[in-house]
Structure formats: structure tokens, C-alpha cells
Assembly symmetry: none
Homo-oligomer: 239 residues x 4
DNA sequence: AATGAATGAGTTTTCATTCAT
DNA sequence: GATGAATGAAAACTCATTCAT
């Protein structure tokens, strides 16, 4: 909580990568810079991996810097070489997960043709990613309040980036007349919300014996199919 | 560890001596007990109010017992007279909100006749309660990990109690043929989820300039009306 | 630890007993005073009993004023009506035990004729008292350091009073020529010491399966009989 | 709760990176480890010394971790780097003293030939050690109640180890016919007890102006010489 | 005389952060 | 670059003591 003026990097030192050392003169320097960049990346990964691992089991508050260092196999001091703050590590851990959404969901959308199937595929993949990082998703909801304004904003903007594909895909289907009078951003946001809920209320679904497959199936029926226009409904039903 | 609850302390008053109170009428006893009970209730409210107030702004973890005491205008010691534990205060804060759901939502349902309107009314009121305790709802999602097993179970069972009326009201409409092939528990849970989201993603709705009324309206269209059977749709549309 | 100027009695209010109210005028006053004195005595006993009871099981440090009050069936406030301090209660508890030594050991001595048998009887009874208050004896050794200078002095002078009869009885036997070149105060103190040890090292004697009777017997042989003069030895052996 | 002992932390040094220390000779490693070990030992001594120093004057309960830290010239946090618990420090303080008994008493016994002189030498040295750690011995008696079961057991078994040489030396003399019908474990235990008493009742001996030398002398006469057989008595008297 | 609610300084323990090596 | 010993502020919780009733 106290932050007695850290003189450290503020943004993770991946910025000392290949590109920014281009203006350096000697070859040797270049090579060193590359090595340094690679090492830095490796270290960051090592640390964030450890952090994610621990936070998923114990919640972010229960994980100390000492524990992260130990689990990552590095010293506490090194943590502060790569991250200016405890918060930066938490942020990096959350970012790691959100990046997964940004990569995997659009990929699945690309691979699908039909607008309605695109919605279903996107939602399905979204749920899959949630399931792959269940604890980390919960972490996102838990941690928000303890982040700095800047950190929170960063997470929020990244989350919007994961939401956009869902909205887009809904909007596209609406444009094509496959959805019946629907507000794309509402439905898109709902899809994200309901995917997140798979993690947030996992205790409930476990208790009521609902598997991920069943969950996806029921949600598709309840929130997607119910909004299809008659034509789309017929077309999709046939598949 | 022990969870005798705050009330445990309150009624240990049998220790108020036998012999020396012989001259007391039972009236006096009653009055004392009542006064004591009233004070205790007042204190509890005072403390929980302070706790909720602080936790809403800073998240439950960032609020110390010292801070709660100060904000409630009492001493730290007194906190422990009424609550055995830090957790008990958090629990009481959450319970306070969940009780509001248990009271207000069924009341609105009772007051409504038509099955479909019951769903809409229930959801609307649910959203209203969420809005009235927005920060406390967020608290519920944030806190889960730091509660003891018993505390968590208590919260979960209370939450199920708030969920049930929504499921019932959906099931009733489904029974009456007003809903088109719908899984009542899925739709019911979705209604709760989407109401919670009004609190959880409030930053998003604020950013996109969506008011509570608009939010409710759009959700009713997107998740309720879309699932109506043709007959119900016609009937409701007319209103 | 902090003692922010208690305005209270300093010496336990048994001093407001019968005698000191003799100068009071009206009969009614006298009766009241007597009643008051009796009540005071009863209260003190009640409190000290509770304190001894608790301290014997948990050690004096582990017993809070709240616990004493509860166990005595009175309020915390009342504790401070009869004792100015926590220390006064501890002191009273220890004094209670030491008084037992002062009463019982001399009584046994009186009842015995032969000088050597007096030593043995005195030691035996001393051990019996220790056994009757085993935990309280331990308490005496444990508590010493946490008492005020005055409290410690009080305990020490009382302990000397329990020691004296042992020394006297040894000196008497020495005078009569029953002991062989012995320093009375050393032997007397040893007898007290070894009796205390029955409490202090009770874990050891329990482990090595030594009963109180055996312990007394062995000590009598080892430290008393070994010091007898030839004449005394013959005389005692015959019994 | 865990009692991995202070040393546990010390040798986790395998975490000092592999790759980046490749240029280190094993010499460097060794030196680092040695330095670290030496520092750790120094720190432990520093802390225990401070603890003993304070506890001797105020009793173990009255000494806070803050006070120990301050007196040792280190931070509170560091205390917990070397000792998992408050109890571990108390334990270490007591153990320190008991180790002195284990070393010094047998050494003196070895250096003496005659069985009776061995007893006397052993007791004398035992008393010397007590005198060197007078306050710490008192600590041992005071602290027992506040230790965990495991801690208490540890202390007790260490104490038995200090007792054994005394019992052995008495048994040896008894075997050789130098003692007259004596129970070795009783006499041995008495010697320990009376040595401890030099510390426990130091106020008494100070008051009665008994020096350590006098004390030892009188006890030797009262409990050792008195139990000698005639032959041994003659032999020893001549020296 | 008796109560017990209220106090708050004090206790042990944790952990983010720094810095000499 | 890397270490990890060291720091100390802050947290949860306890309890002797006071005082209005």
C-alpha cells in the first residue's frame, strides 16, 4: 500500500527489446541488447507465471511477493527489477488472461462463415477461455477495487477489447436480418457476462451438476436462439 | 473461528447476579434486557453501516478494523464485543443486502398477477435492489475468496434464496405456456446474473450512458420478451 | 500494565469488618456494618476462589479479569470494588495457599512429641499441602517476576513464615542432639525446597511413577534420617 | 506453528540462480554460504542474548517482540526471519543455558577421580552454572506454562539430560559402597533441585547473607556427606 | 452495592519494499 | 544482473481498567 517513491521502471522492461536498441552503435552492443531483451522476456514470463499459478489457488491478496519470488525461483529483489510494484504483477497476470480472449475468440470467428454460427462459436470459445482460466477470471472481479485508478483503467480497456468481437458478431448478424430487433451491445455484453458467470458462479453449476457443454448449450438456446429471426431460425435449425 | 454470532454475547445476561437483584421486579429485568437488546441492535447496525460504507469505496480488504471503528465512532474493542471476527462483520454486511432481496422481490411478485409481468416486475425490482446496494453487491463478488468455508457457504445459501423467486416466477410462466421451450433455472439465473452485472460493470454502463431504466428495458427485451410464446407476446404487447 | 491512577481501596476491604464499625452509633448501623462486612468477605472469597480455580489450570497470565468475573459470577466492575488491581487478586490467591501452610504445618508439629518425628511430620504435612495446591505452588514460582516490588515482598515474607516452623523444628532436634552437626536453616530450607519440588517437577515424578507417599518416604530417608545422630537413629529405628 | 527452527530459512540458498552464477567458482559459492551461515549464527546469538537479557529482568511474559528487537538492535521483522515464533526465542534462550549444563558438568566429572569427590565436584559445577545463568534458570521455571506442548517436552527432555550425570555419579558412588543405603535418582534429583534453588530463592540467600561458596559447602555437608558410608567418610575427611 | 458497555494502548505477526553486496 | 537480509508500518485481536447507570 505504501509507495515510498520507487525509482524503478514503471513500465515493464520489455521495452528494452530489440527495436529500441537499434540506434546503438557497435555490433556487440546489439547482440548484448538482444540477449538482454530475451532474458527480460523470459524473466517476466517466469514471474507472471508464478504469480498466476499462486493467485489462482489462493486469491491475489493471499499471495505475497516473497511467495511469488520463491515460486518463480528468483529473488525478491529481482521482482522489483522487472515490476515497479506489486500491482504491476497483478496487472500482468490479469493481462495475460485477457490476451487469451483477444487472440482466441477472433480466431474462431474468422474460421466461421454463417453469422449466427459465428455468434455461437464466439460465445462457445469465450466460455472455453473462461473455463481455462476460471480462477483468473474470478481474480479480475475480485481485484478491481484494490487496483490504482490507472491499473483499473488498463484492465477495463482490455476487457472492452475482449467484448468488442462479441458485439461485432452480434451486430453483423443483426445487420443481415438474422436477429429480431436486438440491441447488439446489450446482447454482446450479455454473452460476455454469462461466460464470466461460468467462472463466478462455478460453485452453483457444480452443485446443480451442469457441465460446461450443457451450460453453453442452454445459454445458446436461451439468449441466442430466442432472438433469431424466423428466417435465421429455420436456416440454423436445419444444421 | 467460533461463530457464535454477535448475538451470543448479548443474552449472557443471566450472569446479572441472583441475590442482589432480588429486590428487582421482573419488570426491571425486562426493561434492562430490552434496553440492552436495543442498544446491541443499534451498535450492530452502527458497525455494519460503517463497514459497508468503507468497504464500498475501498474494497473489503483495504478496510481495517481500526478504520471501521473510527468510522462507526466506537472503539476497536467494541467491535469485538459485537462480532467475534473481522469476517463476521463482512458477513453481516453482505447478509444485510441479501436480506433486502429476500424481502423486496417476493413482495413485488405477490403484487403482480400476470405471469409474464411477474417476471418483468421481479427482474425490475431485483435490479432496483442491486442499484440501491450497488457497492455491496460488488463486495459480495470480491470477498468470496477471503471468507472461511462456513462463511462462504452461508453467503451462497442466502444467495440461492434470492435466486429462487426468479426461477419460480419463470417456471410458472413456462407452465402456463407463456415461454417458448425454456429452462427455468437457466433463465432465472440469467436474470439474477444480469441484475448483478448492473453493479459489477457499472463503470461500463456509465461510460456508455445507459441508465438503470434503459438497462432494465433492454434486458427485458433481450432475455425475457425474446423467449415469450406467440400467445404471450401478443397479450403482453397490447399493454 | 498501565495503571492510570486507580482511586480504589489498595487494601482489600475486609478491613471494614466488624471491629472498625464499633464506634458507629445506632444499632441499625452496626447491623448494616456487620452485614456489609460479611458480604465483603463472601465476595472476596468468591472472587479469589474463582481466580485460584482458573489460574491453577491455565497459569496466572492466561487468566483475564473478564474470565475471573465470569467464573465468580460477578461483574468485572465488582472485581475492582474489592481489589484495586489485577495484582491484588493474584496476591490474594497466592496468600490463600500460603495461609494453609501457616495453619496446617504448625498444627501437625504441635500434635507430635518426639523431635525427630516432628521433623518428619512437619515435612510430610508440608508435602501434603503442596500436593493439595500443586498448581498454586507452581503459580508462586511463575508469578514472582510479574509482581510489583511490594507484592513480591509480601509473598516473600509470607513464605518465610511458612519456612520458619521447619527451621524451628530442625533446630530443636539439633539442640536435643538428635542431628549430627547440621545447619538448621539449611536443612529447614531444603525441606521446604524439596516439598515445593513435588509440585514444580510433578511431570518428572509422574513420568518416573513416584507417588507422593514414596516421594516423602525417600526424602525422609535421604535428607532427614541421614543426618540423625547415632542415638536418634537408634531411637527412631525402633518405631 | 511450524517449528522448522531458525536454520530452515538459512540454507534455502539453492535459489541463488543457476545460469547467472555460472561464472562463479565453487569457491565463491562456499564463501557465500559460509558468510551467510556465520551471519545467521551471529544474528541468532544477538537476538537470544537480547531476549535473555530482558527476560531476566522482567520475566518472559513482560518482554515484547518489539522490546527484544530494539534491545538486539534489529527490526521486528528480522526476529521472524530467524525464529518462526515468539516461543522459539524463549526456547532458544532456555536451551542455551541447558546446553551449558550438559557441557560443563560432565567435563568436571571426567576431571575427577574419587567417586565422592565426583559428586561434590559435579554439584559444585552445577551450582556454578546456575549462578552464571541465575536469571535464566528462573526463567525456565516461570515459562513452562506458556510453552506449547512440544516446546515444554523439549525443555523437559533437555533438563533430564542435565540431571543424568548427577544421578550417574551418585549411582557410581553407591555401587562402590561410598554411600549408605541411598536412592541414586532421589539424591541426584535433589542435587539438581538444590542447585536450582540457588537461583530461585536467591532473594533469600542474599537476605541471609549466604555466598555461593557457603551455600555449596553447606549443601555438600547436609545432603552429600551425611549420606556417606563410614569408610568413605574417613577417606574424604582426610583430604 | 453492582453492573457491564466501552475504551484504547499494547501484543504478535506479516509483508511490500529497499539496498549493500 | 541478481541476491536476500533487513526494514518498519500496519493489521487483527486482547484485556486491564473506567464509569455512567
Amino acid at each position: 500500500m505504501s509507495s515510498r517513491g520507487p525509482r524503478a521502471v514503471r513500465f515493464r522492461s520489455s521495452s528494452c527489446g530489440r527495436k529500441w536498441s537499434a540506434d546503438m552503435t557497435s555490433e556487440t552492443h546489439d547482440v548484448n541488447a538482444v540477449v538482454r531483451g530475451a532474458r527480460a522476456e523470459f524473466r517476466e514470463k517466469q514471474i507472471v507465471d508464478a504469480a498466476v499459478r499462486l493467485m489462482q489457488t489462493k486469491g491475489s491478496h493471499a499471495v505475497s511477493m516473497q511467495a511469488i519470488a520463491k515460486s518463480a525461483g528468483v529473488s525478491v529483489g529481482l521482482l522489483y527489477k522487472y515490476f515497479s510494484d506489486r500491482e504491476q504483477i497483478v496487472l500482468a497476470a490479469i493481462t495475460r488472461v485477457l490476451e487469451d480472449f483477444r487472440l482466441r475468440v477472433p480466431a474462431v470467428i474468422e474460421a466461421t462463415e454463417d453469422p449466427v454460427h459465428r455468434i455461437i462459436a464466439a460465445f462457445t470459445e469465450f466460455c472455453q477461455v473462461v473455463d481455462d482460466h476460471r480462477q483468473a477470471v474470478v481474480l479480475t472481479y475480485q481485484t478491481s477495487r484494490s487496483l490504482s485508478r490507472a491499473g483499473l483503467a488498463s484492465i477495463q480497456s482490455q476487457e472492452l477489447a475482449t467484448l468488442q468481437p462479441l458485439i461485432d458478431v452480434v451486430a453483423e448478424a443483426a445487420d443481415k436480418g438474422d436477429l429480431h430487433e436486438v440491441d447488439a451491445s446489450t446482447l454482446g455484453h450479455n454473452l460476455m457476462t454469462l461466460a464470466h458467470m461460468w467462472a463466478l458462479k462455478h460453485w452453483y453449476f457444480q452443485q446443480t451438476q451442469v457441465s460446461l457443454g450443457q451450460y453453453i448449450d442452454r445459454q445458446v438456446r436461451t439468449v441466442v436462439l430466442s432472438n433469431l429471426s424466423d428466417s435465421a431460425r429455420k436456416r440454423v435449425k436445419l444444421n
